[in-house]
Symmetry: C2
Subunit: 303 residues, 2 copies
């Protein structure tokens, strides 16, 4: 699982800071999460092949999270894309995109598939054989979802020494991986756990932005491998955070702690502060494993 | 008169090239012309004070000319703007902007004044005591206007030596500047042209993008000081230019020549070519005074 931060600053794009967008790679699938203005340029900077993106998740319809979407959609069309593009976003996104395409007398050669979200309960919005994605309803000034990306637990792994010792034939290997016990020619039954090892642990990633401090999300993200939680402000701007329905670094850390996350990545920083290191320092007073998102930064998750 | 190119490349924003946008300064007024994605960042790069922009002109609703508008409008709101913002753009722009503001539950503290354009004839869309702006109907795949910015001719200038020789009193100076003859105390009438000099010549700037080669614009831009004319392609892509309703560098030069422009600035380049110098070389075979727009470049017009 690999995360690339394209932008992680609040409010507006600036010369050196980009609004929210990130690319998550899980099991060779690429997911684009949020798409602030300039996202397509950031994608070019990291030299990501545009055609590999088939699913775009938009948390909410504030500009710093989706003003780059129409540009990306248009560029895909100009580049001759033919594969379907799935967009998971709050209700209204289709009207916005359709209107702009219509007024510019443009069309896409590929199918735009809108999955408009309006439920206030968590729901599964994407699933294939390796990955499942659920919404995390957040509390912000407008309808907003975070997204929980979960690898599915894989099959058990063969214990090569054991199967060699028991002289088990290759044709039984898949049964062992599927968790079945094996009956030897002499009638002995060998329990599966003597022949196989636990599957590679499934990783998970929770993207939570934008939101005020909201403990309601904890059951949904419990034991998550990596939590990205917005921290627009420091403690000194706590009142502003409450007013604008954003979180402070400490609040993000408190959610990570209560949800028993392995790691916390902070982002969505206000640009009012001298250094983003301040967010880390504040969060670390509550939670140990704190990392800072920054534009262009990569995270590889290995536990 | 000063022109700053924020972006001048066709189709999509890339790592090093920006879509169309430029700032024209005439008589201390700032006009923003087109607003492709990323324009607000380009404005920050040139350190232009956002609040000085009160009038935005959008040629047409293709993405590379207006996808940055909603972001700019939102940023103005975040920065606490209170002055009216006038937007001159094809019909439909209000619906696009209003919809996005409504769905993001955002509003502007300032008044957004839309001047939606739909006439196929040239019309005056802005006028104050110093400057007049007219549309230049262009021929492109969708409804498109260029814009002609004209300084108004100022008053005549006093010939200080002459008024001294004739011992004319200060109270008559304004009459002389207004072109009136003066009657001396002894009854002699002194013709105005003996007391004053011609006004400073009025400059003009014509922005023509996007358009196919279209001689119909020539009467509208005749004798213009500076013509910015799109040249998306070189001669080798003439067929493509016709198909997409764009111009070649030679066609831009031909318009400049026929309109008797003083200078021609080329822009809206396709990124398929190795060097934009090729556009200059081709245009110069037809018209002498050719300049190349490039992102971040300034032009000062002095004749």
């Amino acid at each position: 699982m690999k995360l690339t931060i394209l932008g992680c600053y609040a409010a507006t794009p600036r010369t050196l800071t980009n609004p929210t967008s990130q690319v998550l790679e899980i099991k060779n699938r690429l997911f684009l999460i949020d798409c602030g203005e300039g996202t397509q340029v950031q994608l070019r900077k990291i030299k990501l092949k545009f055609s590999k993106i088939n699913n775009v998740f938009i948390s909410h319809l504030h500009g710093d999270h989706f003003f780059g979407l129409i540009g990306l959609i248009s560029t895909f069309a100009l580049l001759g894309r033919t594969t379907d593009l799935h967009i998971y976003a709050p209700k209204g996104v289709k009207e916005i995109i359709d209107l702009q395409l219509r007024l510019s007398n443009s069309w896409t050669n590929y199918q735009l598939v809108f999955h408009e979200l309006e439920s206030k309960e968590s729901e599964v919005i994407f699933e294939d054989d390796k990955v499942i994605v659920k919404t995390i309803p957040l509390k912000h000034r407008i309808y907003t979802n975070g997204f929980l990306f979960q690898e599915k637990v894989g099959e058990r792994r063969l214990d090569f020494n054991a199967v060699k010792d028991y002289e088990i034939e290759t044709c039984y290997f898949q049964n062992i991986k599927n968790g079945k016990d094996i009956t030897l020619d002499d009638g002995r039954i060998i329990a599966n756990d003597k022949l196989s090892l636990d599957p590679v642990p499934a990783l998970s990633y929770a993207f939570c932005s934008d939101t005020k401090y909201h403990e309601g999300i904890i059951p949904l993200i419990e034991n998550v491998s990596v939590l990205y939680h917005e921290s627009t402000f420091l403690q000194s701007e706590e009142t502003l955070a409450q007013k604008t329905m954003h979180s402070t670094a400490k609040e993000a850390a408190r959610i990570a702690l209560k949800a028993n996350a392995k790691q916390l990545i902070l982002g969505h920083y206000s640009t009012r502060y001298d250094s983003i290191d301040l967010f880390k320092s504040e969060a670390e007073t509550i939670f140990k494993e704190v990392y800072l998102a920054d534009d262009g930064k990569n995270f590889e998750f290995n536990f």
